[in-house]
Symmetry: C2
Subunit: 390 residues, 2 copies
């Protein structure tokens, strides 16, 4: 449950940002944005004026929103006739998150609140949410811990001859029983994710997903994640899963091999570990996001692995880490073009990976918090490749 104090601090930080841009109020309609401030993911919208108290308007379920939310003013969603009168007319410049709200929704609110100017506050909201409070850091640590505990069980169920799909199902089953909430929220348009990836040979397939490894998936309608390919001995097996607990998402990748591993793949793994450590050491307040990516890419290049860093040649993702929190794709992104400095309390999944054509996918991923001492790991599962007897 979101406490009243935590909710008020989030609202206050937003209000400072709104005032700095001369925006009179924010109107949040994306469920997870409403949840961040109001502590409830019911069907509701949240009005936060640049000064004063927020107002939560609930379509369904009002009783549940009232049970869950520390917001003082909670009311039923007004009728079309009453709608405009609920909001002060003086507040004429209104921020909404244009990155995520559909055009029809924008038109609806433009008509419901005539004479106002609507502006995009997507980046403001995302920057605000990128810095986690102590409460959120604890939630992310719990999430990463639960996720790691399921990764630790993999040797009990990974067998040669099972399909990637079977391995994925075993992982998903254990995550669910550990309390994984299932639905993995992503913000970016055009992305869809189910739990994560359990891939071996199928990992060599390219795909739409904006990450280093996509997987073959089960059909052209769902071309992501595990396939029906059989898992074979002496091949790298990559497991990359998000943990979703109490809404907070951690992200982790580990490698498994039944038998022995090709020397080039082992070397690529060692380079991935070195890159992870390089990035981790650099994750201090003030460090520039894209510089950490450039340093990582340079290390891959120097090792002769530049063309398969973060994806197969020609389909490489151009980042080495992404923020996580209530969504899997939060700010900051350690990528070219992201010139903002890191801030203490940001949480980033760092995932140096290689896709080596004809050989396989390999890499590592852990979730770190930005601190004065560099990245602080949120879970302590060893990074080593887990070798199982053939």
């Amino acid at each position: 449950m979101l406490t009243k104090t935590e909710s008020q601090e989030r609202v206050f930080r937003l209000q400072v940002m709104l005032r700095s841009k001369d925006i009179h109020a924010a109107l949040f309609i994306m469920p997870i944005d409403v949840y961040y401030f109001a502590g409830t993911r019911q069907n509701a919208i949240l009005w936060i004026p640049a000064e004063g108290e927020p107002l939560l308007l609930v379509r369904k379920s009002l009783s549940r929103a009232m049970d869950e939310s520390p917001i003082a003013a909670i009311r039923p969603f007004p009728s079309s006739k009453e709608f405009a009168s609920v909001f002060s007319e003086d507040l004429s410049t209104i921020g909404m998150t244009f990155d995520a709200i559909p055009v029809q929704q924008h038109l609806f609110y433009s008509r419901a609140l005539p004479g106002r100017t609507f502006v995009d506050i997507s980046m403001m909201l995302r920057e605000l949410r990128s810095v986690k409070s102590p409460f959120e850091l604890e939630q992310l640590r719990l999430s990463a811990g639960k996720l790691a505990s399921v990764f630790a069980e993999v040797p009990q169920f990974l067998k040669a001859g099972m399909r990637e799909l079977d391995l994925s199902a075993e992982m998903e089953y254990r995550l669910r029983k550990a309390g994984h909430e299932g639905y993995v929220r992503m913000r970016a348009f055009n992305q869809e994710l189910f739990f994560g990836l359990a891939v071996s040979s199928g990992g060599l397939n390219g795909g739409f997903f904006d990450g280093p490894v996509t997987g073959k998936g089960l059909s052209s309608a769902s071309p992501h994640g595990a396939s029906c390919d059989e898992i074979r001995v002496n091949q790298p097996i990559l497991l990359d899963f998000g943990g979703v607990f109490n809404g907070y998402i951690s992200d982790m990748t580990r490698m498994f091999v039944i038998g022995t591993l090709d020397a080039e793949l082992q070397r690529a793994f060692d380079v991935a570990i070195e890159i992870q450590e390089l990035v981790r050491r650099g994750m201090k307040p003030g460090a520039i996001c894209e510089e950490l990516f450039f340093a990582a890419a340079a290390m891959a290049e120097k090792a002769g692995l530049g063309s398969c860093f973060m994806g197969m040649p020609g389909e490489q993702a151009k980042f080495v880490g992404h923020g996580v929190g209530l969504e899997l794709d939060e700010l900051p992104v350690l990528a070219k073009g992201f010139t903002m400095p890191l801030q203490a309390g940001q949480v980033i999944a760092v995932e140096p990976k290689f896709v080596i054509p004809g050989k396989g996918v390999i890499g590592i991923e852990n979730t770190f918090a930005v601190t004065d001492d560099g990245g602080l790991r949120l879970s302590d599962l060893p990074d080593d490749i887990v070798f199982l007897g053939a």
Copy 2:
């Protein structure tokens, strides 16, 4: 795989609709809309002029899109400079699906194609997709059959004392191993769904979800579906799951009881079966959507169950059936306000349910195709409540 003939037929039907509204071209950017016409769900956009050949522009993965799609003209996504030159300037009125595309995307394409007028073709697209081809009906039948086969296994793993979450995990595990693709696509803004519902006492909780039963879920961040409540004897246990196979979604609900069932709940179930049959008989071309809902609601009212039909008192959903296909919430909807006539080949999940405060949730759901003889069931699992020994 989508055949060339099937793709061409879908494009042709759209072109007729575009011309009837004087719209010069459609620009689809939602992944599942692109998939419907082009047979690939890569990161791509699809241009369909009202006359002539479609053009698929692919961000990632181009090679995979070319492997999967029967579209003749497939090219890499153009640079900003080249973008406008790819599309004929004569085509100035362009349709997009405003129900699903974010404001930022709309602004991007408005700037990339200056001087054009963009109009909303959401309803046109949804109406087109609501009528399934013989190929799609076969896909939906296969989907419903696989879903039903997992429902048939429930007596093997349902036990008193397990949590709703454990029951959900067992169901999800078996569905995945049967080839369920995981991610359940929904179109409506503000909806999120993970697999489905396994609920008993937790089903009495209200929630945001636009359906008769929501479930308590695992936290206020994920307030939907199974909870950690224990499943007890002599209580109704409702399983409502979507099957996603080769992209096509079927929907099914069955009831289970360990021990015996309260007489009022049994009676409500019998009424639900009667309502399902009433609606099924009416599912003929030409029948008006809302009239089927009114007839269903009247039957519930006559049985003295009006106040708990399709949800708990005060939080009732106002429909009795919804279209399914590539998304869980397709047209048509058997609901007040939907005055369009049914068409042969539409596929509807009919789900009369009751939420009886203090007692439990109960109902039935099957997926039917609209035919001249009324609704044709897409799977043949018996509707009866499954009673297990306590």
